[in-house]
Subunit: 158 residues, 2 copies
Amino acid sequence: MTTPAAPIADRELILTRLIDAPREKLFRAWTTPELLKQWFAPLPWTTPAAELDVRPGGASLIVMRSPDGNDMPLRGVYLDVVPNERLVFTDAYVAAWEPSEKPFMTAIVTFADEAGKTRYTARARHWTVADREAHEKMGFHEGWGICADQLTALVARI
Amino acid sequence: MTTPAAPIADRELILTRLIDAPREKLFRAWTTPELLKQWFAPLPWTTPAAELDVRPGGASLIVMRSPDGNDMPLRGVYLDVVPNERLVFTDAYVAAWEPSEKPFMTAIVTFADEAGKTRYTARARHWTVADREAHEKMGFHEGWGICADQLTALVARI
């Protein structure tokens, strides 16, 4: 448990966008269930349910539904919440503090002012290089990219 | 990442003691480097160094030294801190929020008033049953028991 880990750059996937919306709206879209359900899954996937206890130690349950109707529940816990600035959560816990079956990733989502818009950055950090590679092969860049498009479209109309 | 995990009881190790000292002293012994170094490792192991940033997201580095002089650094991050009541930390991160090489356990240490003394409970929760078993074979009960004795002796004199 004390072996030096691989460099974080080798275990991280990053999506970043400059979005023409205030930080507050992006944060709201991430933390309000009725809004999150409108953009969180890359279409034709959908998000029929979301329970978000947005505070450090609070649990989240987000259900994604595949095009053929299979539900995939995603459970996690928020580690850090700075309103309109930062959200950190992980699937390493299903509740405070009950370890999950398999810690796969920790997500760090940040919102920063930039040129009158918002620099939106979502990082997925993994415990192992193998998990980072698996996540990339599962379509991280395409999937999270579609979601960012959907998020951008949503915040334009809220 | 969404498979139901084994029941928490099968992945947890627990040490509990009724200690004749106020909660405040026990919490202080856990959170003050110069005090922690006096009881944290089961003799003849010692604790030559401790850096404790005691707040949610704060990092800890505790160096344990074996009888033959080998240093074993333990890195972790605090997840929850309620002064004089509860400390939660894990080796799943080496800093906020950098995943470690191997998430092994999450420790939940609680201090509660009971019959004029303090009910001291330390839980080690693991991600897998195999890790719980390995921790037990490494001597969890004997090791943490010796440490609890050393902690009890320390708080009697501070």
